[in-house]
């Protein structure tokens, strides 16, 4: 039977010094799926993304991606395998042009041969980036920066994209535009993990969701079943003790 999971996180614990940030977390993402991770501030959502990206290594547990154990790989190795994170607030390189920001996205050797092709994809998703290709990153608006960050991620030839608070601080029009592109990305067969503060929106867009509370998964399942759960609301408004 072929493996149906693209990503499989198994029972990981993460400590910062003496403090435990994640407890026994298991999570899986199937090919082409959108998975939402929902939780209050400090619940460990960004930590979890950084563990998958290889920025932080779990002390216990394993991460498997596309049949390979990637638990101890460094971020640049993880990117080369096709996992790309779009960090919170975009974090575009301020003193580089839009085009150079995108080219940096294709830095890993597996992505370089498809650079021109991917560039055309990005400009099709976000025509505004094509118009602004020679502007510096710092001159872009918040929404444009997020678009550039997504485009930069797409340049790395990903099979799995991790979005950290994509819609934070953006206007509803821009958010709709970003989600339209997200669906286009998924239609190209790229799986997505969505970390969002906007619970209703992420439940609407995702296939499945994990509710994170104080570093533990307290609930998970198909989004249509989760929609009405009282626990989802509590998780989001909950306070970590």
């Amino acid at each position: 039977m072929p493996e149906e999971n693209l990503l499989k996180v198994s029972k990981i614990d993460v400590f910062y010094g003496g403090l435990q940030a994640l407890w026994d977390i298991s999570l899986n993402v199937k090919f082409g799926e959108i998975v939402a991770i929902i939780g209050a501030n400090g619940a460990g959502k960004s930590t979890l993304l950084n563990v998958i990206s290889g920025v932080i290594h779990p002390q216990v547990g394993s991460i498997e991606y596309d049949g390979k154990n990637i638990t101890t790989l460094e971020p640049f190795q993880v990117v080369a395998l096709g996992i790309c994170q779009v960090p919170e607030a975009g974090r575009v390189f301020p003193n580089m042009t839009v085009l150079d920001n995108l080219i940096i996205g294709s830095y890993n050797r597996n992505a370089r041969p498809q650079r021109e092709e991917n560039l055309q994809h990005v400009f099709r998703h976000f025509p505004i980036l094509g118009e602004r290709r020679n502007q510096l990153g710092k001159t872009l608006s918040g929404g444009e920066r997020q678009m550039l960050a997504i485009g930069r991620g797409l340049m790395s030839n990903p099979k799995l994209m991790l979005f950290d608070e994509m819609s934070l601080g953006l206007s509803p029009i821009v958010i709709n535009e970003l989600y339209r592109v997200l669906r286009e990305i998924r239609a190209r067969g790229i799986a997505i993990i969505l970390v969002e503060q906007n619970v209703r929106r992420s439940l609407k867009e995702a296939d499945r969701a994990y509710i994170l509370e104080c570093g533990r998964v307290t609930l998970s399942g198909k989004t249509e079943d989760l929609g009405e759960e009282e626990k989802v609301r509590k998780a989001y408004f909950g306070v970590c003790k």
């Binding site: 920025v55 640049f76 994170q85 390189f93 003193n95 580089m96 080219i103 830095y107």
Partner: protein, 290 residues
């Protein structure tokens, strides 16, 4: 040369500009390392001096012209720079920001003593057939090596700029200097990129060392004065900017020659560093600093 200085101002101005090119060349590696790693490489002057001594040995021992000897000197310094970052500094960066500074200080002291042992405390120079030539233009009389220094500085700075703009590695160095964490998330092996940045800075140090040796005599302690000059240049120009480094070099060169013209040779570096002090007070991020 001595009399001309008192006869008109065009000589000190021209000399100052040409000297400024050489100063910018010394500072380029320091500026690059700071721009990328936020490390003030205290050993920079001593590493520049390593190239001067290598060229000296190849010239006296094998009869190789110092400029030609860069064919060997540049790769040697590249490897030394790569190893220093990869095996010494990168570990120290994980501890704190001060640890690499102390390592650089240690490298500086080790090199100074090594030069004492290998080359004795005597003053050395890369004295070639063209080192004493000069070029006349009207009232101007300029040493040929000064002109050479300036041209080389311009060419080297242009190459660095194009390298940073056009190549994947150059863009990655640029990206890592702006936001290391995000650069990692974009698939850049920042440890490797840092090592390359340091190695490339050392290639520029190699070039600077040879042209310094052609221009001035040097002793095992000269690295300190090179460092101080380079430091003044980057303070004026703003650390991590190529154009700023060039302008900073010109200001330092001009301050020195004009200070010497008006106040005498003993006061020339005093004027240069007074300007650095004033610049720090008025615009601490440097003329072109971000």
């Amino acid at each position: 040369m001595g009399l001309d200085i008192f006869m008109n101002l065009s000589t000190p101005i021209a000399m100052g500009i040409l000297l400024g090119g050489l100063y910018a060349l010394i500072a380029l590696g320091l500026s690059l390392v700071f721009g990328v790693m936020k490390l003030i490489n205290i050993a920079h002057g001593d590493l520049v001096l390593l190239s001067s001594y290598l060229a000296f040995t190849m010239m006296t021992g094998l009869g190789i012209d110092p400029i030609i000897s860069l064919v060997i000197g540049m790769p040697v310094l590249f490897v030394v720079g790569f190893a220093i970052q990869r095996y010494l500094l990168s570990r120290a960066f994980r501890i704190s920001m001060e640890a690499p500074l102390i390592i650089a200080f240690g490298i500086s002291i080790i090199l100074q003593n090594l030069y004492q042992i290998l080359w004795t405390p005597l003053s050395r120079g890369l004295t070639t057939s063209y080192a004493l030539e000069s070029i006349s233009y009207g009232a101007l009389r300029l040493p040929l090596v000064y002109l050479l220094d300036f041209i080389v500085a311009i060419v080297v700075m242009f190459i660095l700029r194009e390298f940073l703009r056009r190549t994947y590695l150059g863009k990655a160095i640029n990206a890592a200097s702006q936001d290391r964490g995000t650069a990692q998330l974009m698939g850049i092996n920042t440890n490797r990129v840092y090592a390359f940045a340091f190695a490339i800075a050392m290639v520029f140090a190699a070039i600077a060392g040879v042209f310094l040796g052609l221009t001035f005599p040097f002793t095992p302690q000269s690295g300190v004065s090179f460092l101080i000059i380079a430091f003044g240049v980057v303070v004026l120009g703003g650390l991590g900017s190529i154009v700023g480094t060039f302008i900073g070099g010109l200001v330092m060169g001009l301050a020195q020659t004009l200070g010497g013209y008006f106040l005498g040779a003993s006061a020339q570096m005093l004027v240069a560093y007074l300007i650095v002090l004033v610049a720090l007070g008025v615009k601490p991020q440097g003329i072109f600093g971000r």
